[in-house]
């Protein structure tokens, strides 16, 4: 299964990619920041506080996306006994963890002037906090166990239990009364966010995604070099 994942061939591509991704990231981030902080209008109700959203929402999206990817990769790796999938998951996790913390912190900074509180134990916020703990568990598992087989199994279990939380995060605002507002962007119906604010939001999401890709490539290259140096270990 998936024999075409030759470490040397992958490494040829992934070792060259970071500089292009970095370039693209800087370009998109600069445009995104100018759009979000200067060009986009202020909100009718919360005025300039709305600009926090351009960091908060993309960070939350990316962290959910990364956790879902990690889960799918880990489960596939577990079922098909593919080591490469585990290495990709491992390399993806740190940026997901960081974006999760960014989402919580920016949410807190936004919450104080608008809601009147730094923190609320409502369903959305609490489930995001639980996701951070799952990220932490996942990262720690890779550090405490030496035996690879063990790491693969335990980390997969962490993602399987953690992924249950992801739909809860997504639908918490619809299922229960929460302080957090429901989603503004809906793929099937009209968004309740004005287009002049939607474009900077999408640009910032692209920038954050590129940043995650960059960190992922750097981490993944390190893993590949480790395998190369060991010499005997094959993907």
């Amino acid at each position: 299964m998936l024999k075409f994942f030759e470490p040397n061939k992958i490494f040829k591509i992934t070792s060259r990619a970071p500089k292009y991704v970095l370039f693209l990231f800087i370009v998109v981030l600069s445009i995104g920041l100018v759009e979000a902080l200067v060009l986009s209008p202020e909100d009718y109700k919360q005025s300039d506080a709305v600009r926090i959203m351009y960091v908060h929402v993309p960070a939350a999206w990316i962290t959910l996306g990364i956790f879902s990817s990690i889960t799918i990769l880990s489960i596939s790796g577990f079922i098909f006994k593919n080591k490469n999938f585990f290495l990709i998951s491992k390399s993806l996790a740190p940026s997901g963890f960081v974006f999760n913390i960014i989402a919580l912190v920016t949410g807190s900074i936004w919450g104080k002037p608008t809601w009147g509180t730094w923190w609320a134990w409502d369903a959305r916020i609490t489930s995001m906090l639980i996701l951070v703990l799952f990220y932490a568990m996942y990262l720690i598992v890779w550090r405490i166990y030496e035996a690879e087989e063990k790491v693969y199994k335990i980390s997969t279990l962490v993602t399987i239990v953690g992924i249950i939380n992801v739909p809860i995060i997504k639908y918490s605002v619809d299922w229960w009364n929460t302080l957090h507002q429901p989603a503004s962007i809906n793929l099937l119906s009209k968004s309740s966010i004005h287009s002049s604010m939607l474009y900077p939001l999408l640009l910032m999401t692209a920038a954050f995604a590129l940043f995650s890709l960059l960190i992922f490539l750097m981490k993944y290259n390190t893993e590949l070099i480790k395998i190369k140096n060991k010499g005997l270990d094959r993907l």
């Binding site: 009718y44 609320a120 279990l157 399987i160 989603a183 966010i193 604010m197």
Partner: protein, 139 residues
Amino acid sequence: MYGRKVKLRFLFVVIIFSTLILTTLLILKSLEENVVYFQSPTDIKLLNELEKNKIRVGGMVKKNSISINAKELNFIITDQKNEINVTYSGAVPNLFAEGKGVVAEGFLKDRNFFSATKILAKHDENYMPPEVKEALGEK
């Protein structure tokens, strides 16, 4: 196409998933009262006995219901079906306004009166520039 071991591992994952999803659904269902961040005025009306502990009531601030005097602030929280009178003294968040969402934390005096110790403003999911809001308001 795939070996027996692969199929078994797949089955194993599917069983773990089903078990976890069922367990989570059961837990969340039974904890529903505690998962909600606030109760609506209708929920308060339907309470069998008056809650002594600190609770949160949420809804919209009724139009033209805010009255401020030297000691306290009075307003009505409505969910379009039922209403509850709230008294509060202290600072309110910037977004606290008539016709907007609010969550009040405090104690029930009776089914119609609530004494708040903290007021939180609830922001809705609408984001737009002021000009657009004005254009919408004119309609």
